[in-house]
Amino acid sequence: MHPAWSIIFFTSASGLGLGLAAWVVLGLIDLGNVINFFIVSVFTFGLIGTGLLSSTLHLGHPERAWRALSQWRSSWLSREGVLAVLVLSLLAVWFGWNYLIGSVPFLLGLPLVFLIGVTVYATSMIYASLKTVACWHHPLTPACYLLFSVSGGLLASMWLLAVAGQSFISEIYHLTYCLLILAWVAKVLWWRNLDKQSPESTLESATGLGSFGKVRPLMPPHTSENYLQTEMGFVVARRHALKLRVMSILAGGFIPLLVFISFPSSSVLLGLALFLHFVGVFIERWLFFAEAKHVVSLYYGEAQ
């Protein structure tokens, strides 16, 4: 599949922002101080907001984007839009309450945390619901999106705690690296599934000509690349897939993990670790699209 920058940035930035928001609403960071409040809210809304804005950039008609909120009964993309708008509004209320009245009762925040989780799940289901892209159509796809969001969000929270000079309990310290490891274990399993998957559809089933023997493409239907090929037949990444996978694990998992375990309270080093984590997830997301094969590419002679 064609890896559009706008969509890659959308899924990685809003995923991280939503994860951060969940930990903030759970009360991990003390927002009593105005500067803390300012930094945390800018980061949370900045990540989610720019992610969502970026997702509208690849549309043919961004001015009609509001229409995408209407078909939540059938469409995961619509559900994601509705949930994102709802979560952003409730987060605004939550932060406003915090600023004007004081800290929001923990129990009142829990439904919001749940909605944040469902929003990330809905983002992943836009892709996981597509039967035409076999490697996406798998339960590990939402698992990876959720784990990257929750672990990245926690790493971001730990960095903000370090910036604010706040302390944390040791359970949170252990949870942070455990979640990071878990996220990348899930991703490695996802890649294993991608590599081992045997194709359900073949050129024989696509043409119905299997009874005559092996089917080969003879002539393409057009002389230059069309929309289907540029959108669904992206091949550049697959040549370097292994190198890119290793790079994403090193940048997104291994190095941030080592830095966090060694210097859990250093704001500068954690900032660097968070940046590297974002780069690693960005590469991972790029591969998520670039490595994925669409069933229509069968008609253009590509093995699944």
């Binding site: 043919g60 009609r64 229409r67 078909q71 059938s74 000509l209 005559f212 003879l218 069309n226 929309y227």
Partner: protein, 247 residues
């Protein structure tokens, strides 16, 4: 609404005969011609006369080779929207622009609502939808909904443009929901099949397989043997004999 309607009794669609298609591309061109000048935004091309032209077409004819060596078959393979009963492109649409008509099962796009997100094209296993490079909206086969119900056209033109133009009669249009229709009878007589049945889209359009090759003769015909067996007559007999005498 992008939720699918209850399956309609009338299921309008195409039956494509892979035995007859010669890959002339006439259906492709007539489809483009009709749909660029009819309803909605024109079916545009980008850089049409440049080095790398790109455009939206609703019907494409591939060619495949099936089988090996002397048994290999060349099959010309037209492909357009199959107006699936369980159309994944419809349910994926976030805006309600994509819909399946409850009355006859035709899958259409309301271009004024389409945001051009492309998710419907991602959901379609057949590559039936193409983004218009100029308008930024999704284009697809309408089954010539503006011809088949158009009383301003002569009766013989009230069929899809691709069917009307096919010089070999490889394309048929009709109600596949009615078991007694001509197209349904054709499908059952010729063992018509679905493309990618495992994708569970329940396509309405059906394809008819190429007919098996006629029995091959045991010994191939030899032109040399045929020439030697011939005994010339008349003028050729005289010339043969004269040339022989000349030594």
């Amino acid at each position: 609404m992008t939720s699918l309607p209850e399956p309609s009794a009338i299921k309008l669609g195409l039956v494509i005969d892979l035995d007859l298609c010669v890959g002339c591309q006439a259906c492709v061109v007539n489809c483009k011609e009709w749909n660029t000048s009819g309803y909605g935004a024109p079916l545009s091309d980008d850089n049409a006369y440049g080095a790398n032209p790109n455009g939206a077409w609703l019907n494409r004819v591939h060619a495949f080779e099936a089988g090996d060596a002397e048994d290999a078959k060349t099959v010309h393979f037209p492909k357009s929207c199959l107006h699936c009963e369980d159309a994944p492109c419809v349910t994926a649409c976030p805006t309600g622009a994509s819909f399946k008509r409850a009355e006859d099962g035709i899958v259409l796009v309301n271009e004024d609502w389409c945001i051009g997100c492309g998710l419907c094209a991602w959901s379609c296993p057949y590559g039936a939808r193409e983004m218009d490079p100029v308008e930024g909206v999704m284009k697809k086969c309408t089954l010539c909904v503006d011809r088949i119900y158009n009383d301003n056209l002569p009766k013989e033109d009230q069929i899809p443009a691709c069917v009307r133009t096919c010089p070999t009669n490889a394309r048929h249009f009709g109600d596949l929901g009615d078991p007694n229709s001509d197209v349904s009878k054709l499908v059952s007589a010729r063992d018509g099949f679905d493309l990618l049945p495992e994708q569970k889209t329940k396509p309405v359009n059906k394809y008819l397989p190429p007919r098996p090759r006629r029995q091959k003769d045991e010994t191939p015909m030899s032109l040399v043997a045929m020439a030697e067996a011939q005994t010339p007559k008349g003028f050729w007999k005289w010339m043969d004999a004269t040339l022989e005498r000349l030594g």
